[in-house]
């Protein structure tokens, strides 16, 4: 047998066995310990595997990043807040900050809005699984393939030439265009177009999670409201929406973070040109093109700090959840 196949089987069967074994073992370890101490020790044993992974792979590199952000290009000398001063004064990074703000607002509204709309609508039809698969499909496409797909959508030929791009051919039917999509001059249209591409990809993500939560709402509750004469809109406003709120918060938080970290789609489609630069892409540019680790690290730290208010809201929500359950 292929030795790799043996390894794979050993991993697939062995790793869950080891992990479940570990959790079962924790109770054996805790048994001789007095009751009161047991309660304080137990959660840490349950958290241990996760905390080990996170410390090694995310916390330790992040500490390095924070240190680097106060150092010069080569990382040989501390330069105080210079890298941060650069971040908040350079027009490029400020433009990136502005675009990221647009990303956070638009992407969150669009993906969560469409995700909820679709989850609620398909819940009432028989071809639910087909409809969900169609919306989910773009998420299964790799970023490189997605960029090829949207290349065909946005393709531009000079006026008078036959338009091979789907969008230009479509607007052509109404006698408009052709438009050089992604190279438009006005406002932030290019960024908005990239957000639309990302919405196409991520709505499926929101829909799947919201739909899973929707299935947790008891049918009896909804039927009772309908029997009492509530119309579909009242059932949604009064029962479904409030019960979905915790899930919507989780989904929205994840999308906000995705929007803050937006990188791949910008990198493959415009390279940050035509006023589409974002923070993660300025970070990569500082890191690999300009070789300036100090400035790149400062961008990463700013990204980390932006998430604090979002997390504060999440904690208040969890405390509320615990108060009522």
């Amino acid at each position: 047998m292929d030795p790799r196949l043996t390894t794979a089987i050993a991993v697939v069967v062995g790793v869950p066995a080891v992990l479940f074994g570990y959790i079962i073992l924790t109770e054996q370890v805790l048994r001789p310990i007095p009751d009161r101490r047991r309660g304080t020790l137990r959660p840490w044993l349950w958290l241990l595997p996760a905390l080990l992974f996170l410390t090694v792979f995310l916390v330790y590199p992040t500490i390095g990043t924070v240190v680097h952000s106060f150092q010069n290009t080569a990382g040989t000398k501390f330069v105080g807040l210079d890298n941060y001063v650069y971040f908040f004064t350079s027009p490029t990074t400020l433009g990136a900050l502005k675009n990221n703000l647009l990303w956070v607002i638009l992407l969150t509204l669009l993906t969560v809005g469409f995700g909820m709309l679709i989850a609620v609508l398909v819940d009432r039809v028989r071809y639910e699984s087909v409809a969900k698969a169609v919306i989910f499909l773009p998420l299964a496409i790799s970023m490189v393939a997605a960029s090829v797909i949207w290349r065909f959508m946005f393709l531009y030929s000079a006026p008078g030439q036959p338009q091979v791009g789907t969008l230009n051919a479509f607007v052509g039917i109404f006698g408009l265009g052709p438009y050089p999509w992604l190279q438009l001059q006005d406002f932030s249209f290019n960024t908005i177009l990239l957000i639309i591409v990302m919405t196409w990809m991520w709505t499926g993500f929101c829909m799947v999670i919201i739909s899973a939560a929707l299935k947790g709402i008891s049918v009896e509750l909804l039927e009772a409201a309908r029997v009492d004469g509530a119309n579909e809109w009242q059932v949604f406003r009064g029962i479904i929406f409030p019960l979905l709120l915790p899930t919507l918060a989780v989904v929205a938080t994840t999308v906000v973070i995705t929007a803050l970290k937006a990188f791949d789609i910008v990198y493959v489609m415009t390279g940050g040109n035509f006023d589409t630069q974002v923070m993660a892409q300025s970070m990569i540019q500082e890191m690999f093109t300009n070789g300036n680790f100090g400035r790149a690290s400062a961008v990463a730290v700013v990204l980390l700090v932006t998430i604090v208010p979002v997390m504060a809201l999440n904690i208040r929500r969890f405390q509320a959840q615990e108060a009522i359950r």
Partner: protein
């Protein structure tokens, strides 16, 4: 245990009323769903049709022209991509990477999520904020320190599958813990209290109650983690780059496209080949997204 978990089937009357509502009337619902489906499908159909057309046609006319002249369609691009000897092993490699890198984080996250949701300990909220806050760490900043750790001066496992299993587990954990903690936290307290009164240990409550009741959330999580790992290019390229025999489909395909002479018309065919498995996983797990898994676990 006093409250067995069971799937509560809606009464016959309820089913009849639900189905009746979806079969008649409500054409706006159908219309809205179909319009959304069409909008979401058009970009992909464009690529699918172009992946079946010869490169010269792709550049000269829109994909929709093939609808009127189906004679241009052929499987040549697919044959071309599949004929590359590296595709088969790369597909197997992708499986080797993805399956453990999905199972490990989901389990580890389930333990942590249960602790965060149902155990009280000092510093719980702060720790949770830090864990979820790690979602925002750009992966690119972790690559160099971790590569050094994997190198001969550290663990000396560079280039092996273990490197990507461990890395993907860690990268997937913040979201996995976030999602599962929220779901498990929303489970009814009575279930756990009555289990504890009956003498069930936290391990029993976790294995017999929390895990089975979280099946829809776990199924969603499995799909996402599977997809992220399956479609990942960056992590595989950086950690496995030194051992070409271990490279997954994504890396092989992007190499293929450049070695075939920049032909992005082959990318369409390659994209559909690599999409097949994640979609199969999605369809396979859809049956767990059903109503009533938690329903009926609490009486009254």
């Amino acid at each position: 245990m006093t409250a067995p978990i069971g799937v509560v089937a809606p009464t016959a009357q309820v089913v009849a009323r639900r189905e009746g509502r979806s079969r008649f009337g409500h054409w706006p619902t159908h219309l809205a769903i179909i319009v959304l489906m069409v909008i979401w499908l058009i970009p992909t159909i464009g690529l699918l049709i172009n992946s079946l057309r010869p490169p010269s046609e792709v550049n000269d006319s829109g994909w929709w022209t093939a609808i009127f002249e189906p004679s241009q369609l052929s499987l040549d691009n697919y044959a071309h991509v599949l004929a590359e000897s590296s595709i088969g092993p790369a597909f197997i490699n992708s499986l080797f990477i993805t399956i453990p890198a999905t199972i490990i984080p989901v389990l580890v996250a389930a333990f942590a999520a249960y602790a965060f949701a149902w155990m009280t300990f000092p510093g719980r909220n702060i720790l949770f904020v830090v864990v979820v806050g790690l979602l925002v760490v750009p992966l690119q900043t972790t690559l160099i320190p971790i590569l050094q750790l994997y190198g001969p001066k550290g663990l000396n496992i560079a280039g092996s599958f273990l490197t990507v299993w461990l890395a993907h587990t860690a990268y997937g954990l913040p979201f996995a813990i976030f999602l599962l903690r929220n779901f498990m936290g929303g489970l009814p307290r009575e279930v756990f209290e009555s289990a504890a009164i009956d003498g069930a240990s936290p391990v029993t409550s976790f294995l017999r109650l929390a895990l089975p009741m979280s099946v829809p959330a776990i199924a969603a999580l499995v799909i996402f983690q599977f997809l992220f790992v399956w479609n990942d290019l960056l992590v595989a390229l950086v950690y496995l780059g030194s051992s070409p025999q271990n490279l997954p489909l994504t890396v092989t395909i992007s190499n293929l496209v450049t070695s075939l002479g920049g032909g992005w018309e082959f990318l369409g065919a390659a994209a559909f080949i690599s999409m097949a498995l994640p979609l199969a996983v999605f369809f396979g797990l859809q049956r767990y997204f059903v109503r009533g898994i938690t329903g009926g676990s609490v009486k009254g």
